[in-house]
């Protein structure tokens, strides 16, 4: 048993190192591409380069949200704890990437729009989305029993996912009736810009996968420790 555990840990350790090195290298190359390869935007200047991480963060967050929803449905259907572990790992990453997007947005908006926060449709809806996933994570910390936590948070995650289109539509419709800053949309995107954008997205997706993998293992180990502790108590050790 011990031997088996040891070897399993060794091989996952190698995987972790591989993923980490790969993610770091990819992220480094992406940063280089965003800063030096992509051409400087004419009207906004250097600050536009933040887009190469700002936009892909949201795209990655949506992958994470889809993963959380899928994991939650799968948990309700199968009652296998692994789906709950996947859901929580992805939800944490979704919150992290939404946070990155919400922080990089104002950094860009201040010099370009003149304000940090313009209450435009997209930022506002994303903020609501962020609040929804933060409250999902908070709920998880406030339910102690693992199965109950998995069940309740799965229902919340499904409700949250159903709410996403409603949030976006309501705020979009609300905002288009009110004055808002005009977003420069010339319709032309330099092909190099697009390539760098997709490259950066690739890097963030690799980071997402690497961290989710790690976070999933942590959740699994926690469950194992809990089970062992209960077993020890049962035997009166």
């Amino acid at each position: 048993m011990r031997h088996h555990l040891g070897s399993a840990t060794k091989s996952t350790m190698a995987g972790t190192v591989f993923y980490a090195v790969f993610a770091y290298a990819f992220l480094g190359l992406a940063a280089y591409a965003a800063l030096f390869v992509a051409p400087t935007e004419l009207t906004m200047g250097v600050i536009q380069r933040i887009f190469y991480f700002h936009v892909p963060s949201f795209w990655t967050a949506f992958i994470a949200i889809a993963t959380t929803t899928f994991g939650s449905i799968a948990y309700l259907a199968t009652r296998a704890m692994k789906w709950d572990w996947i859901s929580v790992s992805a939800a944490e990453l979704a919150t992290a990437f939404l946070t990155i997007g919400l922080v990089t947005g104002p950094i860009w908006a201040k010099p370009v729009w003149g304000v940090w926060w313009a209450w435009d449709a997209r930022t506002t809806s994303t903020f609501v989305l962020w609040a929804i996933y933060v409250s999902y994570l908070l709920l998880r910390t406030l339910v102690d029993e693992p199965e109950r936590r998995a069940l309740l948070s799965a229902v919340v995650a499904i409700f949250a996912c159903l709410d996403v289109p409603l949030v976006y539509f309501s705020i979009w419709w609300f905002r288009t009736q009110h004055p808002q800053p005009v977003i420069g949309d010339s319709g032309y995107l330099d092909p190099r810009m697009l390539k760098v954008l997709l490259f950066c997205w690739g890097a963030l997706v690799v980071v997402f996968l690497a961290v989710v993998r790690q976070r999933y293992r942590l959740e699994k180990l926690r469950a194992e420790v809990d089970a062992l502790r209960m077993e020890a108590e049962r035997r009166g050790l």
Binding site: L139, L152, V155, I171, F174
Partner: protein
């Protein structure tokens, strides 16, 4: 037992409990009234401003009130573990949920009906010409609040810090209802007194989506 029958049994039970104590309705009424008065202190609105901001304040007050009022819906069942008794009855879990949604809807709607004339007087708004459409907006918005609120109240009743957790879960989820119903109310109270069809359809869509979700996933909330 059919769904309608069992739902009405739960509903009448909820109403009887509330009519005997009347604590929920009276405290919520006073609470929303206080919020509306306090809002007017912080804004000191002129009549044009009152038309523009009043509906939002009303809906915000109702949202705060519902987060307080929906809390006891399931917590009240925990004191004597009556929820387990309910589960043992030959009633579908969805009927329990639907009965509670219906009773919460009635309570909230009652609070709104009582508050509406006071709100109109405080903010100097004429609501009589648009009363029918205003009640429709109030009803549709409240269905959305009651549905999501009752589901989340069932969830938070099983967690620690539930008094804090319910508003935290509820507010971002019902943000669309808050926007749609305030905007619809603003439209009704504006000089043109027009009801934007989009918001009406939106509120119906929200209600349908979450009632369906409650129907599909409600049973998971009652598992032991």
């Amino acid at each position: 037992m059919s769904l309608t029958r069992s739902t009405s049994v739960i509903l009448s039970k909820e109403l009887r409990v509330e009519l005997r104590s009347r604590e929920l309705l009276s405290t919520t009424l006073v609470f929303v009234l206080l919020v509306l008065v306090l809002f007017s202190f912080t804004f000191d609105p002129t009549s044009a401003e009152a038309r523009r901001f009043g509906p939002g304040l009303l809906w915000l007050g109702l949202l705060f009130a519902s987060s307080l009022m929906l809390q006891p819906s399931f917590v009240r069942e925990q004191a004597n573990d009556t929820l387990s008794a309910l589960r043992m009855t030959p009633i579908k879990p969805f009927a329990i949920l639907l009965g509670k949604i219906a009773s919460n809807l009635l309570f909230l709607f009652f609070v709104e009906l009582t508050l509406l004339p006071i709100f109109a007087a405080l903010y100097n708004l004429s609501i009589l010409p648009v009363l029918g459409r205003l009640l429709l907006v109030l009803f549709l918005g409240t269905v959305g609040l009651a549905t999501t609120g009752t589901v989340f109240s069932a969830i938070t009743a099983q967690a620690r810090l539930r008094e804090l957790l319910l508003p935290l879960l509820l507010f971002p989820i019902v943000a669309p209802v808050l926007i749609a119903s305030s905007e619809a109310t603003v439209g009704l109270l504006s000089p043109a007194a027009a009801l934007d069809r989009v918001w009406l359809v939106f509120l119906i869509a929200f209600d349908v989506v979450f009632l369906t979700a409650a129907w599909l996933f409600g049973e998971y909330l009652f598992e032991e």
